[in-house]
């Protein structure tokens, strides 16, 4: 049987069509078309949406809403999303970035999903027809999630408040050894008032480094100040082992790279 593609104008109709056995949502195609090409016979039908709202980026009063079909390339070149450009450019090569979507990245298994790591640090909200979910809850339930993600929303961090690092063996385009995104707010005296740190490849999906976040509070961003956070960085993580690196290696170098990111 051919891999039939159905096109819908509304999210509701597309969601209904997705209830059929073997049907998958087609975003940029980098995950699902690949699976079909590689002979994944569990994929028997594809559904896509032409609703232009899914391709929109809205910026209002520091609040960002990015449609799920917005590509990494569109994020990277958007003048008001400069802080996120590095994270968007961390995904694939130029052709992949023209195809890979924000919505798709939320479902990309480690070592992929670097942009989702950034969204986790930004404490994004994930919107579907069923309503809104905090990204942490969304990620933990994503394997059974069936509703089409329509957009992600978050508050734009202050200038220089957002930091992102992707470590890969191959340059300029390689999949992650690990990736780190951090939203750090500092008080007037320079001490950290709040920190959200998200990690890629330290589990099968993006996870928060909550112990490190806690250990940073009230500290200054210097070698001594960050030391407790680095010591706690790998706490609660279960790094993946894959052809790129072992869990051991990822755990070993996480504090090194986190330290470099925090001191940068």
């Amino acid at each position: 049987m051919a891999l039939a593609l159905q096109t819908f104008a509304t999210v509701r109709d597309a969601n209904a069509a997705l209830k059929a056995q073997g049907t998958r949502y087609l975003g940029g195609g980098t995950l699902v078309v690949r699976a079909a090409n590689e002979g994944d016979v569990a994929v028997s039908g594809l559904v896509r949406l032409t609703d232009p709202a899914l391709s929109a980026i809205a910026v209002a009063a520091g609040k960002i809403r990015i449609g799920a079909s917005v590509t990494m390339a569109a994020v990277a070149r958007h003048p008001e999303l400069g802080a996120l450009a590095k994270a968007a450019r961390a995904v694939g090569g130029p052709a992949v970035r023209n195809m890979a979507t924000v919505g798709g990245n939320l479902f990309a298994p480690a070592p992929y999903g670097d942009f989702a790591v950034a969204l986790l640090a930004l404490d994004a909200t994930i919107t579907t027809d069923d309503g809104e979910l905090p990204i942490e809850a969304f990620l933990s339930g994503r394997d059974s999630s069936r509703a089409i993600v329509t957009s992600v929303g978050f508050t734009l961090p202050k200038a220089d408040g957002f930091r992102f690092l992707k470590v890969s063996r191959i340059k300029p385009k390689g999949v992650s050894v690990l990736s780190i995104a951090a939203v750090i707010e500092q008080a007037a005296d320079g001490t950290v008032s709040s920190a959200r740190i998200a990690l890629g490849c330290m589990a099968d999906r993006p996870v928060r480094a909550k112990a490190a976040e806690e250990a940073l509070k009230g500290k200054t961003l210097d070698r001594n100040g960050i030391a407790p956070a680095l010591a706690a960085a790998a706490e609660g993580t279960t790094p993946i082992t894959d052809p790129i690196a072992s869990a051991w290696y990822r755990a070993e170098v996480l504090p090194v790279h986190l330290g470099r990111l925090l001191l940068s």
């Binding site: 049987m1 051919a2 891999l3 079909a36 590689e38 002979g39 016979v41």
Partner: protein
């Protein structure tokens, strides 16, 4: 790039017209316009697509194969199993009398590595072939497997390949290819230092951008044209002829424009089964490896273990070298028995050493069969030899480059495999490297020559 004509000017005549000229490549205009025809650019009406059902186990007995559901799948034209292959047990080097035949085109009763071909499905579309392949039912009894060469060589290890009867290739010289030159034990006894070190590699993929494959078209006159990216036309044709029990005159191979080889396209893997499919269906057949197959199913460069024991004098002379090399052939021979013995002919490297002992083993394990790759039998050996050279130099407190000059072979020196050295140029390469890298060595080394008497 720089051509340094001052070296060997006295033994070279530069009186050529076309040779030595940087003429443009005749194939490049086709490449840049996308017009070059690779095998997969041939498309025939009614072409079938072949997909392989592969073993999910490293080592297993096949209790039964049920293809009935796959055969009924829409779009499926034919399903092939071992019984359809006229001469199913083969080995490619049988053409140069390196046997025994030890590999099945399609698994018959047993699989010996994860990924081994078991059933071939021919269908109207790739998708139909994939769907049908998923419906082939194979009942396996999983057997103990061995992955480590040293484990494989121990008594009581699971037997990988019954056609050999033991987990190593049996040469006419015994369990390994041997080179014996001088008295290596006496050399060690007289040496100032003895250093034994072990080196290891893992399998390496050729990773050509074009995957292995072929397209076969029946000519309508009982002949079959096979468009292929093999690196060896007649080698592949003759092996296909044996496997298919079909006279070579019935086979027409067209190739020669290949999207990268690096040694990865010298196994005869896709052509025989695709020709068989074309013969049994009367239709053109395309069998192209997926990238995953290219990465994990096609033969890699063998993993090797190399143990080097050297005796060295304080003045820098290596007086004895013993090398034990192990080539991880995986489950079948393919080209590995040749590679292991090529290694025996390569050691102890480009150095003149009076006492040499070499044993090279070709070992069977339950992994993807390895085969030739750029530098076959030599690349990993050179890694081991040249790291060992660095260690030896540091052991005796000598500059690593100067240490190599002391031991470098020169014209007339007898090699361990008893051929006199001819055409040596190692010394000159090192002299130029010394200059280019600003790595100075003593003047006496810069005055040496590979070929001039007295220098």
């Amino acid at each position: 790039m720089e051509l340094r004509k001052n070296y060997f000017a006295d033994v070279r005549k530069d009186d050529l017209h076309e040779i030595g000229q940087p003429r443009p490549r005749s194939d490049s205009p086709g490449h840049v316009t996308g017009k070059t025809a690779y095998f997969a650019d041939r498309n025939f009406p009614g072409m079938l697509h072949l997909k392989m059902v592969r073993s999910p186990h490293h080592h297993a007995r096949i209790r039964s194969i049920d293809t009935s559901e796959a055969e009924r799948h829409p779009g499926v034209v034919r399903v092939l199993t071992a019984k359809d292959v006229p001469h199913n047990v083969y080995t490619i080097l049988i053409l140069i009398q390196i046997g025994p035949e030890d590999e099945t085109v399609l698994a018959d009763g047993k699989v010996r590595w994860k990924g081994e071909a078991v059933v071939a499905v021919l269908a109207e579309t790739e998708r139909a072939a994939q769907e049908a392949a998923a419906k082939v039912k194979v009942d396996y009894e999983v057997l103990p497997a061995v992955f480590d060469m040293e484990e494989a060589l121990k008594p009581g290890a699971p037997l990988v390949n019954e056609y050999h009867g033991q987990n190593y290739y049996l040469y006419d010289s015994g369990e390994c290819r041997k080179v014996r030159f001088g008295d290596v034990e006496a050399g060690f006894a007289g040496a100032d230092h003895v250093l034994e070190q072990s080196y290891q590699s893992s399998p390496i993929e050729h990773a050509p951008t074009e995957t292995t494959g072929c397209v076969v078209a029946p000519e309508g006159n009982d002949r079959f044209t096979c468009y292929t990216n093999t690196q060896a036309m007649f080698f592949t044709l003759d092996n296909a002829s044996i496997i298919l029990q079909m006279p070579g005159s019935k086979l027409h191979f067209v190739g020669g424009t290949v999207g990268g080889g690096f040694g990865g396209k010298v196994d005869v893997i896709v052509e025989p089964i695709a020709i068989l499919g074309a013969k049994l269906t009367g239709r053109p057949v395309s069998f192209i490896y997926s990238r995953e197959e290219e990465m994990q199913i096609s033969s890699p460069r063998a993993a090797e273990k190399v143990v080097i024991k050297d005796g060295v004098m304080k003045d820098g002379r290596i007086v004895a070298r013993k090398v034990t090399g192990y080539t991880d052939a995986g489950a079948y021979s393919r080209h590995s028995p040749y590679g292991a013995q090529k290694g025996a002919g390569h050691y102890p490297g480009p150095y003149t050493i009076p006492n040499v002992w070499i044993d090279t083993y070709c070992v069977y394990t339950n992994r993807t069969p390895s085969s030739a790759m750029r530098g076959f039998g030599v690349t990993i050996g050179d890694f081991a030899l040249e790291v060992q050279m660095d260690k030896l130099a540091r052991l005796i407190g000598m500059d690593p480059l100067e240490f190599r000059f002391i031991n470098a072979y020169r014209d007339g020196d007898m090699k361990a495999h008893r051929q006199p050295t001819e055409g040596a140029a190692l010394i000159e390469c090192m002299q130029e490297a010394s200059r280019a890298a600003n790595w100075p060595v003593a003047e006496k080394y810069m005055a040496m020559s590979s070929y001039r008497k007295g220098a």
